[in-house]
Structures are given as structure tokens and as C-alpha cells.
Amino acid sequence: MAIESAKPSEEEKSWSMGVADATLGALGRRTLSSFGVFWAILHMSWEILIRFFPPRIDGAELMRNLYNVGVRSFSIIVVTALFVGAIMVIQAGIYVEQYGATGLLGWGAGFATVRELSPIMIALMFNGRVGAKNTAELGTMKVTEQVDALRALAIDPISYLIMPRFVAMVSMMTLLVVLGDATALLGGAATSQFLLGVDHLVFFRSFVELIHVSDLMLGVYKATTFGVAMGIISCHYGYAVSGGAVGVGRAVNDSVVSSAIAIFVLNYLVTYIIT
């Protein structure tokens, strides 16, 4: 009797089947949708790539985007990099004071900064400022028929809107990381001088003697790779918007999250391949 009551009734069986169906259905839809997004991002990459041969970019739009992306990001990147350099010196300072290894401070702080922290932190800031703005701008243009208006005027929206944004994001991300490295060093040197009492010349000497060009270049490669990923992802989500203001909001959210994930995955891959 007890065994019989433990068996599920027909109603319970059908309920469990329903739950399983719904779960599998939702999982299936999500997987298909992820493949769809991945395919669309590949398609956007292809559309961008073919417009480089020969280059089809609107010059005036490119200049406007270089200014918006590069010059307007300058201040937040400088502030971010200054603090990154300073924090790394504080972290390294614990061991420097413990072991008296002041001659290694520039190397200790600089190594982690130029190879990892500077590209990652700057990319995340850049993603929040430029990537999100890019998606929102393109998305708004899509829902207000400005993209259709461009096509109606016989202007290719990818050449006119996407290419300048993509080129500006890749080139400026790379330049900003170079600038960020230099600023982080200044932040680190100032912190070592005023907080730890280590002369800034000792800090710089340690950096110059022990950091190789390959360490600096690794950060630069990462910056370019992150710029490419953010450029493609933010343009894809903006260009694929549908559903009005709600759609634009959703696209910005998806773009920022996807780009952040791409930054971490690419950071792992570039580090693994080059190191």
C-alpha cells in the first residue's frame, strides 16, 4: 500500500512532463537564439571586412567618430589609469617594505599594469562609455527610420555608420591603452614617491630595466583585440535593434554584457597564445 502511494499519479506524471517540456523548450529556444546572435555577429564582421577592400569609409564621419571616441574618452581613461598605477604600487608596496626590495617596485607594479590591468580596466571603461553609446545611437537611428532614410538616399549604412565607428573604436582603444600605460606609470611613480618614500627615479629605472618591449606589446595587442570585439558587438546590437525604446534599452544591456564577456575571454586567449 505504501509502495503504491509513492508512485506518481497520471496527473503528476503529466505535470512533470509539462515542466520537462517547457524547460527543454526554453533551453532549446535560448540555444537557437544564441546561435542566431553568434551568426549575426559573424555576418556583421564579414560586412565590415569586405568594406576594407577597397576601403569604403565616410571621411567626415570618421573624423567625427575619432573625436567622439578618442578625445572625449581621454579624461576618464587618464583617471582610470592613474588609479590603476597607484593601486598596483600600494599592493606591491606591502612586499617592498617587508623585504626592502625598492629596486623591484617599478617592475612589480609595471608588469601587472601593462600586461593585464591597464588593457582590461581601460577596455571595461571604454565599453561602458563608447560601446554603450554606440549601440544606443545606432539603435535609436534604426527605430526612428534614420537607417532607412540613409538607404533611401542611396547611402550604404554600413559604410557610412558602422565603418567609421569600428575604425575609431579599434584605433582609439589601442592609442588609449598606450596613453593609459604611460599615465599608470606616472600614477605609480607619484604614489611610490609620496606614499612609500621610494624615489620616482628608482621606480622608473626598475621599470625600464626589467620590463621588456614584449610586455608592453602584449597589452597593445590585447587593446586592439578588445577594440575589434567591442566595435563589432556594439555595432551589431545597435544595428539589429527592433521594438522601439524598450528594444534600444535591451540592446544596450546585451551589448555591454556581451562585450565584457568577450573582453575576458579574449584576454585569456591572447595571454595563452602569446605568453
Binding site: R64, E145, Q146, D148, A152, A154, I155, D156
Partner: protein, 245 residues
């Protein structure tokens, strides 16, 4: 009417979204230099039809010819060349909000790259004079009223002097004075020999301008003909729409 006299011809044009047909077997013929009034209740597929004529949306069935060229066989590059022969005024202006008025109007000429900058500037000033908005080149779209935006959108659509212009509800939401200004512009374009398709709900406003009429209802053609035939049409749905019976 010979084929050479037609600037737009649609045959059996249909479009489906998901499983529902939103436009079904629509026929349209527009003679060169004439104006067609495209009318019908909201959501009947008027804007979709003109977007298909402009090559912005591809039909699922049927064929469209513009200026003697069939759109179906054209790739995106060839389609772009064809679109240069069409001007389109969008219902909600669709002005580029990151460009000022002068840049908005000059954009198609600048990208085309056929005219020197000085001449483009001059052309922009001329067209702004035509739409009675002289000297507003440096204003941004958000600084303009609805009527001004509509006229700037009109200026941008006709700056290349295309043989065919499509007006999607050119007077929607405008006061009678501004509407009258827009109708004067439409009449002037017609006098200059431009062919046009005008979507409008202001039947009194476009009545003196249009030679032919196409009435859509539920994605299907309900009537096509001239004004006299439209007024005499006994179909209840046509009478209901036209006479308000």
C-alpha cells in the same frame, strides 16, 4: 498606356510577416509626371508598399519596376543606384539628428561626390529658399518645429532632383497653414515634371493634386482609377472611406 510612359509599375506585389499576408496582390501604375494618391485606413500597408517601391523592403511575391528597371533582380549596389532616382519624405521626418540642417540636406550630394563643396552649399541654400526656410543651415533638427522638420525632410528628398518622389503622409500632425505650404511645394514639384506617390489621410488637401488614386484596405487593392471614377465608385467600403458614408 505604354511601358515607357510608366515610371512605377507593380504587379501582384505581396508581403508576408510571419504567417500573415499584410499586402496581397497589389497592382499599381504611375505615369511619368503625374501624382498618385495612395489612400486607405491606417495599417492597410500603404507605407510598406512605398518602402517596397523604394527598394527598402523586398516583396515575397510579385514584381516592381521603377523607371523601367525591375527591382527583383538587383543586388544591393544596383539598388543603391536606383534609389538615387527616388526621393522619399518619411512620415516621422527621419532627419539625422547628429547632423545640422545644411549637412542633412547636403549629405546625398556629398556622398555622391559629383559636385564641388561650393556648389553643394549653393544648392542647399537654394533648396532652403524653395521650402521657405532660408538661413537655417546651422540649426540642429531638435531645434526645429514639426512643420520645419517636414520641410527640411522634403528638401533633403528633392535636393538631387529625382524623377520620382514618395511622400509618406507629408502633412501628418501639421497645422492648416503649414499643410498649405507643403501642398504648394508638392504642386511646384509636379509643375516641374516630377512624378510622385503621396500617402495621405488629408483627402481634401491632396484632391486637387492627384490624377490617379489607389485605395488599399486590409492589404488589398480596393480601387484604382482617376478622381471621377473614385467619386462615382459604388463599392460600399470605398464610399465609406471617400465620402464618409
Amino acid at each position: 498606356m505604354s511601358e515607357a510612359e510608366l515610371i512605377v509599375r507593380c504587379e501582384g506585389v505581396s508581403k508576408r510577416f510571419r504567417r500573415a499576408w499584410v499586402l496581397e496582390d497589389v497592382e499599381l501604375r504611375l505615369e511619368r509626371g503625374s501624382m498618385l494618391g495612395l489612400i486607405g485606413p491606417g495599417g492597410c500597408g500603404k507605407s510598406l508598399l512605398v518602402k517596397m517601391i523604394c527598394g527598402l523592403v523586398r516583396p515575397d511575391r510579385g514584381r516592381i519596376w521603377v523607371n523601367g528597371q525591375e527591382l527583383g533582380g538587383l543586388g544591393e549596389r544596383q539598388m543603391q543606384a536606383l534609389r538615387a532616382q527616388i526621393g522619399m519624405v518619411f512620415q516621422n521626418y527621419a532627419l539625422f539628428d547628429f547632423l545640422d540642417v545644411g549637412e542633412n540636406i547636403a549629405l546625398p550630394l556629398r556622398v555622391e561626390g559629383l559636385l564641388p563643396p561650393k556648389e553643394i552649399e549653393q544648392r542647399v541654400a537654394e533648396i532652403l529658399d524653395l521650402v521657405a526656410l532660408p538661413g537655417i543651415e546651422r540649426k540642429m533638427p531638435h531645434e526645429l518645429s514639426g512643420g520645419m522638420k517636414k520641410r527640411v525632410s522634403f528638401a533633403r528628398a528633392v535636393v538631387r532632383r529625382p524623377p520620382l518622389v514618395i511622400y509618406d503622409d507629408p502633412t501628418a500632425g501639421l497645422d492648416p497653414v503649414t499643410s498649405a505650404k507643403i501642398y504648394r511645394l508638392l504642386a511646384r514639384m509636379k509643375e516641374e515634371g516630377t512624378s510622385s506617390i503621396t500617402i495621405s489621410h488629408d483627402l481634401d488637401g491632396i484632391r486637387p493634386l492627384c490624377e490617379r488614386w489607389l485605395l488599399l484596405d486590409g492589404g488589398r487593392k480596393l480601387f484604382e482609377g482617376d478622381l471621377a471614377a473614385l467619386e462615382a465608385c459604388s463599392l460600399p467600403r470605398v464610399r465609406e472611406f471617400w465620402h464618409g458614408d
